[in-house]
């Protein structure tokens, strides 16, 4: 039970793009600052972790900060890396995922001189900023796009069945937050849409992802959303191979299997990471603050469909883009309230 009415930081309104524009032309004010990012996984997932790393690289380019990446695949490594980062005198330690939540709660107070940031969840603490995302909102758009797309039977590979798919990595709460939005978005377009849901049970088995995707296609889906980190490339490949479609996640994955990916639900982990570093460099770091990046803040959203447009040419259903824009506005204005999975949302 957290107190309601917590401040949603206004600074979050600045997107990474805007921020980097600001950064241009500036001298490297961050030189000498050391930032450590601890990952709960390896880099190279072409998704969440890579996105975070991209934000860091951008910040390094803009501010000249020194970045240290610590990868780890087991809980033991996460904690050890995190503690080592605490001890090694970094100015800022960024915990890239909610896996670090408990360690932060336990240890951050003992390192008052180190600043911490955590992405994708919220942790209280005077030296901690938390940045999380309204992945449900982004997923809502993705679900809506998919629901419309699955009825465009003139496009090759699209069948008349009103069925869309969704494949997740591990069955953990945050993924259900994605799914909640996705399903709501789809039903918003057409209550008759059926949404198939599968979990691979792993973050790094693309072959399993592929198999699940193909199974959903067999069951009538023609577009499947990927929310599976390292398992994801298999989902995208499955779409390509079956001549069907997928929706990417976290990063812009539209180009991973060009022509098979309608759009990607981008979660600006890079922005989050960039903002955290920026705040430390510019001295605006304010402990105990929480940013909840929604569509409004451009923390989540869909890509611009351009790759698909190019691929489908005339057949590209422009109405989807328009509808997505409309929905975006409605969400920002509050006309549409996207539901959260229990335990998620701005007031969590």
């Amino acid at each position: 039970a957290k107190e309601a009415g917590k401040t949603v930081e206004a600074t979050a309104g600045t997107t990474a793009k805007a921020a980097s524009e600001n950064g241009d032309g500036k001298e490297k004010t961050g030189a000498g600052k050391r930032v450590c990012i601890v990952y709960s996984g390896n880099l190279g997932d072409k998704s969440y972790n890579d996105s975070c790393n991209e934000g860091a690289k951008e910040a390094a380019a803009d501010y000249g900060v020194e970045i240290k990446n610590l990868e780890g695949t087991s809980a033991e490594e996460w904690e050890a890396n995190f503690l080592s980062a605490c001890e090694d005198g970094y100015d800022l330690v960024i915990c890239s995922s909610s896996n670090f939540e408990e360690y932060m709660k336990e240890h951050c107070a003992s390192y008052p001189n180190v600043k911490f940031a955590i992405i994708d969840t919220t942790v209280e603490g005077d030296n901690i900023v938390s940045i999380s995302f309204a992945q449900n909102q982004g997923s809502f758009l993705a679900g809506a796009a998919a629901a419309m797309f699955t009825q465009k039977t003139d496009i090759e590979g699209v069948n008349p069945d009103k069925i869309i798919g969704w494949v997740g990595g591990m069955d953990i709460p945050v993924l259900h937050d994605f799914f909640t939005g996705y399903e709501q978005g789809a039903k918003y377009i057409d209550p008759d849409i059926k949404v198939l849901q599968s979990f691979a049970g792993t973050w790094n088995d693309p072959l399993k992802g592929k198999e699940l995707t193909l199974a959903q296609f067999d069951q009538g889906a023609d577009i499947v959303m990927n929310v599976a980190s390292g398992t994801g490339p298999g989902i995208l490949e499955g779409a390509k191979e079956a001549g069907k479609y997928a929706i990417g996640v976290d990063l812009n994955q539209d180009n991973d299997q060009p022509g098979s990916i309608l759009t990607s639900m981008v979660k600006r982990v890079d922005t989050a990471c960039y903002l955290a570093i920026q705040s430390v460099v510019e001295g605006t770091f304010k402990g105990n603050s929480t940013s909840y990046l929604t569509i409004k803040e451009e923390g989540v959203g869909l890509t611009d469909f351009s790759v698909m447009k190019e691929h489908l040419g005339d057949k590209f259903p422009e109405d989807i883009v328009e509808k997505v824009k409309e929905l975006e506005e409605k969400i920002v204005s509050g006309e549409i309230v996207v539901e959260n999975y229990t335990g998620f949302g701005a007031n969590k």
């Binding site: 190279g44 997932d45 072409k46 979990f199 693309p206 072959l207 198999e211 069951q219 390292g230």
Partner: protein
């Protein structure tokens, strides 16, 4: 729940598709098992093969070369194991696990240093193993649907199962191999060089393991991912035990697993908790094995019984 959608024709191919990598791995393990060597290193051999296949296919544009190099890479890993075990008396399972760790690390390292990528490598430049349909099957309506557009290595695994069976039970080499595995002293007194047989068994196992990897990265998919075997090698070892190192029974074990896995993949969509669906193939495989062993024992007991009418 729509049973028709779950038990559709495509389920047959899906079963086979997801079982194939495990069948390859199981054959890799079965060959050494016949020489009484437990090849825990299957996983690592396979992973190395998967990497080599993708790297070579990407760099040379030839899938065939990729497959060949994958097999050689598998061979190298297997030989490290063989020399360590036979020449330097390493515990076979210990060095096998060492090989697994080594493969995991070295493929990651080479992915970074040689291909300049991390995590996943799925460039369009990778040439996958081609898919073919057999023309005579294309005329048969039902079979056509099942056997449409299979990857060459998927066809080949059928050949390989039969080939391995043939080698084990029909050839001179197979006879010697089994003798070495079952009673090395007897083989030795028959003038067979036990160690050299073991080397050869491990070497061939390495070649098949490499091929298993190549199928995984160039046939089943068209990419390399760190640790992309994801315990398929271990599943192969389990399947090998399932079939008692007999290639056909072993393949049957893989198919049982593949079938439940594929049914599971279709069931998930109906809101069954994912973990319960995901554990189903494992439970079903154990149950199948237990039931088959129990009935085999019952049969044996009956055969041995004095009360049975002769």
């Amino acid at each position: 729940m729509d049973l028709g959608k779950i038990f559709s024709v495509s389920l047959i191919y899906a079963t086979f598709r997801s079982a194939t990598p495990i069948i390859y791995a199981a054959l890799c393990a079965a060959i050494t098992q016949q020489a009484d060597i437990l090849n825990i290193g299957t996983e690592g051999i396979m992973l190395t093969g998967a990497f080599a296949a993708v790297a070579v296919s990407y760099l040379t544009g030839s899938w065939l070369l990729g497959v060949v190099v994958a097999m050689i890479a598998g061979l190298i890993m297997a030989m490290i194991m063989a020399v360590g075990h036979i020449r330097y008396k390493a515990e076979i399972c210990a060095i096998g696990m060492g090989i697994n760790l080594f493969a995991l690390a070295i493929t990651k390292f080479l992915l970074n240093s040689a291909l300049g990528k991390s995590g996943t490598f799925s460039e369009p430049g990778i040439i996958a193993i081609p898919r073919v349909s057999l023309p005579f099957l294309a005329k048969v309506p039902f079979l056509k649907e099942i056997f449409d557009n299979w990857c060459i290595t998927e066809w080949f695994v059928i050949v390989l199962i039969i080939l391995v069976w043939f080698v084990f039970y029909k050839t001179v080499w197979g006879l010697r191999l089994r003798a070495v595995g079952q009673f090395p002293m007897a083989a030795q007194t028959a003038g067979i060089n036990v160690n050299s047989m073991k080397y050869r068994a491990i070497a061939i196992s390495g070649l098949i393991g490499g091929l298993a990897g190549a199928h995984l990265s160039l046939g089943y998919s068209k990419m390399f991912t760190e640790n992309m075997t994801n315990a398929r090698g271990f599943m192969g070892v389990a399947a090998m035990y399932f079939g008692g190192a007999h290639p056909i029974l072993t393949a049957a074990g893989c198919l049982v697993f593949g079938l439940t896995d594929s049914i599971g993949a279709r069931l998930q969509a109906y809101g069954v908790p994912s973990q319960l669906v995901l554990l189903m193939p494992y439970v079903v495989t154990i149950a199948t094995l237990a039931v088959s062993m129990a009935s085999k024992m019952a049969r044996e007991k009956k055969k041995k019984s004095a009360l049975a009418k002769a």
